[in-house]
């Protein structure tokens, strides 16, 4: 960050660049507040980036808390309006197996349940449920076990969570907010029992400085207790670790709701060009900055998936995604029965610390509503009269629908490449391509799997705060495809290094960082077909590119 940020008096400093932090920054900035956001790693690199990526209507709340279902469905509809480009419809089926207790009765009950859920379907542009016979189910998805006696279908939406965070940050920045990733809050500036700002340190450059703000909003997700500790207070959460397995392709075009060995609900569903199986939910008290998937977690998910989709182990599991949920604290409940409720803590009323708020809990699908609530609290404390427009004003990419064919022609690009870009950037697509016209290799592909062009990579560095190759991955899906960065890692590092004005050592650091980060997700699941890919990746990085040699210094 630039030194002049220090001289500005901010209204709100937000800590955390997940969906809560960026959502709150956007809402505050749109209501006219002067906002600055700090994220110690990257936007959506924590709990947000590791979540299932669904904008759902909250079916699970239907039984005990129908109002939450209503609000979730309503907000799901709003998110579709403000970010239509980032969403993709996922038709789901909930199969009933003959081994289930009283399967026919269970199927009836399920249908009754989804009949009730249908009432909310119009709010989120979903199709009503259907009841599928065994044959109909097998026709839709032949991979499902012959043990299925039928299924109920329903409709939800998936979303690119990384883009959702970045677009919220972009929108906040359009309204004057300062966004600083790789910038860690190391201390809260206190005057007595009042928080007056933050001391931050750039984790990549080491730059440090103080930033003053009237209010500090702690939206650090699973790291929030640590930030609260800096203010001398204690906010308890019930951290729950969750992993997802990611396949190299779509095993199915529909989502399947399955039950694990302990009866927990797990999803297997298409997501972009991949397929994900998850999630687990286990209390976690280890190091938040170095999460590891265990064999038990991986086997738990595979077993569950295999129960419903017998040939799942024949697919290539490409990587494992690991995150920790910042669930609200509760004693005496098992992990799965914890509701995804959220709460805004005003520490002035809670424990007499002025100028400090914390948001905890919640779920992706209602991030916008939660941000609105938190911003309402902020506004009432600061006497700000602005009204919330986050449900009506589209995010930067949601303002119009780009003409993919026309753009492809104009920039002599592959239509598929443009359509993937339009999925990520919506109405911004053409502007991004325009911004690098005249520069060499503008439409050259950096990542061939996705694909991602050089223009998009450069744009992500210049306009979206990308500073490492994993940052580029989050913004563009570069390196997330079947080759897991084998072909694009070095290319991307060159472009990024060039944009950032880094020397050779800096570029080496970028390469190393990315390959190590991918390995962390690949190594625990190395099996079967993925072993061949790993051998090829290592042969490329080590034998052909001799990257280990340039890094060993």
């Amino acid at each position: 960050m630039a030194a002049d940020d220090q001289s500005v008096a901010y209204d709100v400093a937000v800590i955390g660049g997940g969906i809560n932090g960026t959502g709150i920054a956007r809402d505050c900035a749109m209501r006219g507040l002067k906002v600055v956001l700090f994220e110690k790693n990257d936007l959506s690199s924590g709990a947000t980036g590791a979540c299932t990526g669904m904008i759902h209507g909250g079916a699970r709340y239907l039984l005990n808390d129908i109002h939450t279902t209503y609000l979730s469905s309503l907000d799901s509809g709003y998110i579709q309006k403000i970010a239509p480009h980032l969403l993709f419809r996922i038709p789901f089926v909930t199969p009933v197996l003959k081994q289930d207790a009283a399967p026919n009765v269970y199927l009836e009950l399920l249908e009754t349940f989804f009949e009730a859920y249908d009432r909310f379907a119009p709010l989120k542009n979903s199709k009503p449920h259907t009841r599928l016979t065994k044959d109909e189910l097998k026709a839709i998805e032949p991979g499902i076990t012959d043990d299925a006696i039928g299924a109920i279908s329903f409709d939800e939406y998936g979303i690119d969570t990384f883009r959702l965070c970045v677009e919220n940050a972009l929108s906040a920045a359009e309204h004057g907010a300062g966004i600083h990733n790789h910038t860690e809050v190391v201390q809260l500036l206190m005057e007595g029992r009042e928080v007056r700002g933050v001391r931050v340190r750039d984790t990549l450059t080491g730059w440090a400085g103080d930033v003053h703000a009237k209010l500090v909003m702690n939206a650090a997700g699973p790291w929030l207790p640590g930030i609260a500790g800096l203010a001398g207070t204690n906010v308890r959460i019930r951290p729950g670790k969750g992993i997802h397995l990611i396949l190299d392709r779509r095993a199915s075009n529909i989502g399947i709701v399955i039950k694990a060995i302990d009866g927990r609900q797990v999803f297997m569903m298409p997501h972009d060009n991949t397929f994900i199986i998850g999630t687990t939910d286990d209390d976690y008290y280890g190091d938040l900055d170095s999460l590891r998937a265990t064999r038990d977690e991986i086997e738990y998910l595979l077993q569950a998936a295999e129960h419903y989709f017998p040939r799942i182990r024949e697919y290539r599991i490409m990587r494992v995604m690991i995150g920790v949920r910042p669930t609200l604290y509760a004693w005496g409940k098992n992990e799965d029965s914890l509701y995804r409720e959220h709460r805004v803590f005003d520490h002035e009323t809670e424990d007499g610390i002025k100028g400090f708020l914390t948001i905890a809990g919640g779920k992706l699908a209602s991030y916008r509503l939660m941000s609105e609530e938190a911003t309402d609290v902020i506004c009432s404390k600061l006497g700000c009269k602005g009204t919330c427009r986050t449900h009506t004003d589209p995010l930067p990419g949601g303002r119009s629908v780009p003409d993919i064919k026309k753009i492809a022609q104009q920039y002599s690009m592959d239509t598929y490449a443009v359509s993937r870009m339009a999925y990520r950037h919506g109405s911004m697509t053409e502007e991004i391509l325009k911004s690098t016209v005249g520069e060499a290799s503008n439409s050259a592909l950096v990542c061939e799997c996705e694909p991602v062009t050089e223009a998009e990579v450069r744009y992500a560095v210049r306009n979206e705060w990308a500073r490492t190759v994993p940052d580029l991955r989050r913004r563009t899906r570069l390196g997330t495809g079947p080759c897991q960065g084998r072909r694009c890692a070095v290319r991307a590092a060159y472009i990024l290094g060039e944009e950032l004005g880094l020397g050779s050592d800096g570029i080496k650091g970028l390469i190393e960082g990315f390959i190590k980060e991918r390995w962390k997700g690949n190594a625990p699941i190395l099996a079967d077909k993925q072993l061949a890919e790993a051998e090829l990746n290592l042969a490329t990085h080590i034998l052909s590119d001799s990257l280990n040699a340039i890094l060993e210094e």
Binding site: Y494, A523, I542, L543, E553
Partner: protein, 444 residues
């Protein structure tokens, strides 16, 4: 008997086994497709880092020094295992054998138009596009003039193609920084430039060098590309030019001749990652070698059969669904590691065709979960990739007690344990030597 010897796999190891056995026997190769050899850089690194860690340039050893180190320090390396059969001067006898096998292979490949150049005394240093390089004993002749040790003091230029790779100032300074850190300096200059084939109306719709190489097999296409290169390079200052490996694949011999006629030895190919044209060229040349030695090539998936202390037949499944049983006196297993499908894991780890036990070091591996054999840093030596079958000094697979599993089965190449080619860089050498020896053993 259908054949005297059946070899499973046709990469470097399988081909060497087959042609060596074919001197006296009727031989067939059964293969389910191309494997790691076809994906390789096509260069032969015989003894790699010689068991030494650390930066390669600082530690570059002569080939004989490197082989000596392996024999002294790595008792499980297939080189060491093979050398235990020698009674006298283990090192000299083994080194002599390596040279004999290599000279013979490169001689045969050269006679066929796939010329390899190199030396048993020193190693060549061929750069890639990242400013790092591959240390290699023998490489394709289209690369040898790019040996950096003989280009010191010259003005060198790296060429890329628009839409395939970024070759700009950043890359040029990266390359020169990296090379100078290895003591590979000074050069008069190191520069990078891009050539845009598409703007000259030449189709360049592949994003990998290998797709351009494939199109270069077409004489008309390669003539036009050469013309543009000539025209572009005439406007640039250089004493040596590194091109991506695009000098044809199936038609490499003719394409190379066009380049040599036009540029002499001032233009060479740099090393590129998989899948690159040189690897495929080598594989095609191996196929021709098999044919020349009268080896039958059977495209099918092999599976071992039956109990007992000797293999009588294997089952082969063909792509069209047909199945057949093939019998032979002896068999060679040259099925590679993971890329080629030689080692598989499901409920446990095992060798794919005969279900042989597999080892990491002397440890029999059963537990399918990999994490115990991996570390957090992919640049560390990852033990998992040294997994494979263990053999006696005649390359016959053994069980956990060291007992020979089948008396008429020999194994070669990366299906073997005891070395980790990704890190020790002896992959091609080991495949070549163990392949030739397995062929000789199987022919009795």
């Amino acid at each position: 008997m259908d054949y005297d010897v059946i070899v499973i796999g046709s990469g470097i190891a399988g081909t060497l086994a087959a042609i060596n056995a074919a001197r006296t026997k009727r031989v067939a190769v059964v293969r389910k497709g191309y494997g790691a050899t076809a994906l390789s850089s096509g260069a032969f690194d015989i003894a790699g880092k010689g068991g030494r860690r650390g930066r390669p340039f600082k530690g570059i050893l002569s080939l004989s020094e490197a082989i000596g180190n392996i024999l002294d320090n790595e008792p499980l390396h297939p080189y060491s295992i093979l050398s235990t059969a020698f009674m006298g001067d283990r090192f000299n006898e083994f080194s002599g054998m390596v040279r004999t096998i290599g000279d013979q292979l490169f001689g045969e490949l050269g006679a066929d138009g796939m010329r390899y150049e190199g030396s048993w005394e020193s190693t060549a240093i061929i750069p890639n596009q990242h400013g790092t390089f591959k240390i290699t004993s023998f490489c394709q002749s289209s690369m040898i003039s790019g040996n950096l040790t003989r280009l010191m003091g010259r003005a060198i230029l790296f060429i890329g193609f628009e839409r395939t790779a970024v070759h700009n100032k950043t890359r040029a300074s990266f390359i020169s920084d990296t090379l100078s850190k290895y003591g590979l300096a000074p050069f008069k200059s190191i520069d990078c430039a891009n050539i845009d084939l598409q703007s000259h109306g030449i189709r360049c719709d592949g994003y990998d060098f290998i797709s351009i190489a494939g199109m270069m097999d077409n004489a008309e296409y390669s003539k036009r590309v050469l013309g543009i290169l000539r025209q572009s390079l005439d406007r640039m200052e250089y004493e040596h030019v590194f091109l991506p490996p695009i000098m044809g694949i199936a038609n490499h011999r003719d394409v190379l001749k066009m380049f040599t006629d036009s540029f002499g030895d001032t233009v060479s190919e740099f090393m590129s990652p998989p899948s690159s044209a040189p690897g495929l060229r080598l594989q095609y040349a191996l196929d021709r070698l098999l044919a020349r030695h009268g080896v039958a090539i059977i495209d099918g998936d092999a599976a071992g059969t039956g109990p007992g202390d000797a293999i009588k037949t294997i089952r082969v499944s063909f792509k069209d669904g047909r199945k057949a049983s093939l019998s032979a006196d002896s068999f060679v297993l040259a099925t590679g590691k993971f890329i080629s499908g030689g080692i598989v894991n499901g409920r446990t780890w095992q060798e794919a065709v005969f279900g042989l036990p597999v080892f990491i070091g002397t440890h029999r591996v059963r537990d399918p979960f990999p994490m115990g054999h991996l570390t957090d840093d992919p640049f560390d030596k990852q033990e998992l990739f040294s997994i494979g079958v263990r053999t006696d000094s005649s390359l016959r697979p053994v069980d956990a007690n060291g007992r020979t599993v089948y008396k008429n089965l020999h194994a070669a190449g990366s299906v073997l344990s005891g070395y980790n080619y990704l890190y020790d860089k002896t992959g091609m050498g080991t495949a070549m030597i163990t392949g030739a020896r397995a062929g000789i053993f199987s022919a009795g």
